[in-house]
């Protein structure tokens, strides 16, 4: 059995899977994310133990977290939403408790892994762009038996020199304009409630700029969008194709698809992460 701990900005999901098959889920529990690291650790340990008591021994634990990770050190180093988890060694803490292998990865990179069994299944390479509380971008290329993975921090590429201040400290990052949290700060309401079409026209253009910039580094044939904003806001979902046609002229337009994995993408990606890790097939750059 594999345990997945998915710590999102609002909710934390803990799941048990019998195998690497996404349909082999035994149970999933969730609770509002606890911002105090130690309190969260206590709650997570208790729930993981309950799953072990019910379904038997776990082989490993895979964590998805909403923040940048130092993958070599297996630590989440910087999250705009979970400050108290920054640089905490959750991998070591869980290993110590359960005495099994534990791995951690940033949520949007795991979203890209989840697509290996979904929209990325029948293609050699793809770019995944997440549009949610923040903006992420990952390029995945299958080469022989390996997967080359380029995480890009796309949300923090600068699209307006000297523009709006971003949570990362830079100015003019695309996330400062269309990240869900920043849109909420700008318009004082959840993006889902914004009806002003000019806001969405501008948001589509920013997303098109980010996508075009992504393609200048990775001229991919396949762009997969995922995340709550793109899947729940029709103006974004319907506008991005023509938005990209206006902004990107030097390469052939990619095939654009929107993932249907929604809030399960992190969990399924974390499950896939164990499989890739076990097979030694990841080359993360």
């Amino acid at each position: 059995m594999y345990i997945i701990l998915d710590i999102q900005a609002q909710l934390t999901y803990i799941s048990a899977f019998e195998s690497f098959d996404s349909k082999a889920r035994l149970r999933q529990t969730r609770f509002p994310t606890i911002y105090n690291y130690l309190a969260s650790l206590v709650e997570s340990k208790k729930r993981i133990q309950n799953l072990i008591d019910e379904f038997g021994e776990a082989e490993s634990i895979s964590i998805s977290i909403t923040g940048s990770t130092d993958y070599d050190k297996q630590i989440m180093t910087d999250s705009a939403y979970l400050h108290e988890y920054n640089n905490k060694d959750i991998v070591k803490d869980l290993k110590h408790e359960f005495d099994i292998p534990v791995i951690i990865e940033q949520d949007c990179i795991l979203d890209a892994y989840a697509e290996l069994n979904n929209l990325g299944e029948n293609v050699d390479e793809y770019g995944l762009i997440t549009v949610t509380y923040g903006i992420g971008g990952v390029y995945v290329k299958k080469e022989d038996s390996k997967y080359l993975v380029f995480p890009t921090e796309l949300g923090h590429t600068i699209v307006v020199p000297n523009g709006l201040e971003c949570a990362c400290g830079q100015r003019g990052c695309v996330e400062a304009y269309i990240g869900g949290v920043n849109m909420k700060d700008r318009f004082l309401t959840d993006p889902k409630n914004i009806e002003d079409y000019r806001v969405w026209e501008e948001a589509v253009d920013f997303l098109a700029i980010a996508t075009s910039n992504f393609m200048m580094a990775f001229p991919t044939k396949n762009i997969i969008y995922s995340g709550s904003s793109i899947s729940t806001i029709p103006a974004l979902k319907n506008g991005i194709k023509s938005g990209l046609e206006k902004r990107m002229r030097v390469y052939k337009q990619p095939k654009i698809r929107v993932s249907s994995l929604s809030n399960q993408a992190n969990t399924l990606g974390a499950l896939k992460h164990i499989e890739l890790y076990k097979n030694n097939s990841l080359v993360r750059l």
Partner: protein, 276 residues
Amino acid sequence: MYIAIDIGGTKTIVSGFSEVDPSQLVFSSMFSTDRNFDNHIKKIREVIKNNLNDQKIEGIGISHVGILDKNKEKCIDSNNLAEFVNKPIKKLIAKDFTDNVRLENDLVCGALAEATFGYGMNYDKVLYFTVSTGIGAAFAYKIGNNINVVQIEAGFFSIKGIGLPHPSGQVDIIESYVGEKSMEERFLKRPEEIQDLLLWEKQVGYLSTAVINSLIMFNTDVLVLGGGMIENNEYLREKLIINIESGMMQKKLPTIKVSKMGKSVAVNGALSLLKK
């Protein structure tokens, strides 16, 4: 002898080395790139023959401006060398000389040169960023003994600007603002004739955006800045480094170096293609 060739838009360099090592230079010849393809190939082959001194050619590495085909046999698109497009250049240059011949794009060669012989020698990941007639970058990463390169069209990064067009059809890309050609069209002067410091301050702002975006997208150990405009324009070079250091907050800054290879960078990259 190992032959390394750099075919640029205006100049071509043909060099010979006794080993795959830039310090083992035997001869080097620089001449204008002849727009006539056949004449130019003839000239390159003559230079090689005249400098061989009866030595055997161990291999030929070629750096070529423009976009190459997937199999790296020929150039399939070039603004500067229209007559070179779709010609079997690799085969024609190496004919009767050797079967060990490799062709690569000039930006890729730049990154390879720095990753193999330059500031990236002791690092696994190298980002090479160049500003000359155009703006470009390439990311080299080492896996085992192999060096792989991702080419980045950094001059084509888009920003939300005033809608400046670019001949490519894209608007508001970095090259619409800082490209040599765009500047000439906007100000009717060659960039080096423009003395306006306020303008240059802005230009460096656009350039640093392109560098920072490349750094944000690629996890690199070292950033190597190169190209004529960076190596020869002190204000641009120093201001650019200051802007990068103060403007990139999201990640830890890599080591920043200014290339010392000058005009040899593409030849060195072509030479590195012959490394076993």
